[in-house]
Amino acid sequence: MNFIRLIVWKEFTQIRSDPLIIRLIIFPVVLQMFVLGYALTTEVKNTTITFLDRSNTPESVSLVQAIRRNPLFAFAGYAESESDCRRRLDRGDARLALIIPATFARDLSGPQGANVSLIIDGQDANSSNIASGYVNSIITGWSVSFLQKKLESRGLRLRNVLPVEARPVILYNPMLKSTWYMVPALAVVLVTMITALLTGFSIVKEKEAGTLEQLMVTPLSPVHVVLGKIIPYVVIGLFELSAVLAAATLWFGVPFKGNFLTVLLFGLIYMTSSIGIGILVSTIARNAQQVLFMLWFILIFFLFLSGFFLALENMPSWVQKLTYINPLRYFMFILREMFLKGSGFAELWPQGLAMLAIGGVVFGASLLTFQRKVS
């Protein structure tokens, strides 16, 4: 115990003596928090749209207005012809083009209904999908109200014509803000990066400098060294986690419904994995550069398969199975559920258990390889 305390003291003294590293621990995290907090939006806004209105009737103008008034779209002018539409998309001036045919108003009352064409810039499959979905739902909404007016003129009410009435109620994130969903997950990413990188660097640095060998000829055992090295970074990690959570609630206004101590406990369990990965990588790597590359490689893999910005449910089932070994997946899920739904141990213990198991394996493996490599 005494030995561990010594190494902890040594680590903190070293960290304290390097003012730049302190600034670099704090500043980029703050920066990332704010940039990412705003950038990580899955919302698709300000999509540029151009119109070719061949009908030019009150109906067509009303439809164009309905889309233009919607804050999700940015009006990119009227096109003169279909080739003009195409040119605007080619140049990147517009991402969508809506073409209303000359027969629009007449067809609207006909038995077959009217046609409009929507040309979509499909470069970014994801956002174009979402944006065209928005256009579709605006058009549907407009046509429902058009139908309603028509029925009213005949003395009927739409409510009485449609068979069901479905009232959507949005729970947990009633304003559908993407920050509410992304910022808690961001905390996981930042904590992982800082703890894994710092532990990895601190060990590989000692290896490069030969001080690790100097420690190994003292009565210290490898376990002491590892535990002593970890504790400062666990403290930094927990501090970081709290800071990010505080920023999430105070700055980004994400409601926090869970219990703070529970978060810290889950965070502690999680860090056995993130720090374990840092140790594992640093024992294999020969220099700091390799540590960075291996960690970056692992982190990308984990990020993709965590549900951070790609929903796990959409992935093929073999990829989904792969995500079960990903500690990020669980901690991200836990934080999101705790933040928005206020879940606690009662609901989240299976995820906690999974993290504990993964952490145990990773940490155990890292201790074993460390012990084998240094002696």
Binding site: K10, T13, G210, E213, P219, S375
Partner: protein, 243 residues
């Protein structure tokens, strides 16, 4: 006879390459034992096995009466080790480095303070205690390494090319300290390729490609090979070994 350091056919192989090939040495308490050889002759590998940093492939050895295969933990409390590379924390101040290594060797607060005062006075480090270690000149860093390795009064001090690139005056001072420690009963096991350093040793062994080619006192070696200087004797042995 009870040796401070004793090896029996100690061997280390890295794959097909034999770095240390069946070496047998016996070093007595208080002796300064020099380990000479060209770069790559296996000196560092040998010293690392004795310190418990490497596991031997075969053979056996005892350091301070403990088996180097099984009792490395016990050995570590009784030895001090100074590697050829400066390996203290350059970003800590001198005092913190001393405090860290003293405590790692289990000195309690009072003993540690006393030993730190003693060692820093002995090595002339007192004024440097609040300095950042990395900012010290080379010679002083070496002294600090020696101080750190010696705080816990080890029975045996392993020095791996301790004065690599230190100026002659510092090197001389350094060896005065080593002789003083030896006179106080500390066994010194030192590797070097500086002949002037070898002259300070009570006995030296000369290693060629993992094997011990000769082992005797410097005087005896010079006499045996009819040489004026140790360097000539060394060259004669090395050439004889390579033939």
């Amino acid at each position: 006879m009870n040796y401070s350091i004793e090896t029996n056919d100690l061997t280390k192989k890295f794959g097909p390459y034999t770095a240390v090939d069946h070496i047998n040495v016996g070093v007595q308490a208080g002796e300064i034992f020099g380990f000479l050889g060209a770069n790559g002759a296996g000196k560092t590998t040998a010293i690392r096995m004795l310190c418990g940093l490497l596991t031997p492939t075969s053979g056996s050895g005892h350091v301070a009466g403990f088996d180097i295969m099984k009792e490395t933990a016990k050995i570590r409390t009784r030895i001090g080790y100074m590697s050829q590379k400066f390996s203290l924390y350059p970003d800590l101040v001198v005092r913190d480095n001393l405090k860290l290594f003293g405590s790692l060797y289990g000195l309690n607060k009072r003993d540690l303070a006393a030993r730190m005062d003693e060692m820093s006075a002995f090595l002339g480090l007192t004024d440097l205690l609040p300095r950042i270690t990395g900012s010290l000149p080379w010679g002083w860093q070496q002294r600090l390494s020696l101080a750190c390795a010696n705080l816990h009064k080890p029975q045996i001090l392993f020095l791996d090319e301790p004065t690599g690139s230190v100026d002659p005056v510092s090197r001389r001072n350094f060896w005065d300290l080593i002789q003083l420690l030896s006179a106080q009963g500390t066994t010194i096991f030192v590797t070097t390729h500086h002949m002037d350093e070898a002259e300070y040793c009570h006995r030296i062994s000369i290693m060629i490609s993992g094997k011990i080619a000769a082992m005797d006192s410097p005087q005896a070696l010079k006499k045996k090979h009819n040489c004026e200087t140790l360097l000539e004797a060394f060259l004669a042995i090395v050439e004889g070994g390579n033939r």
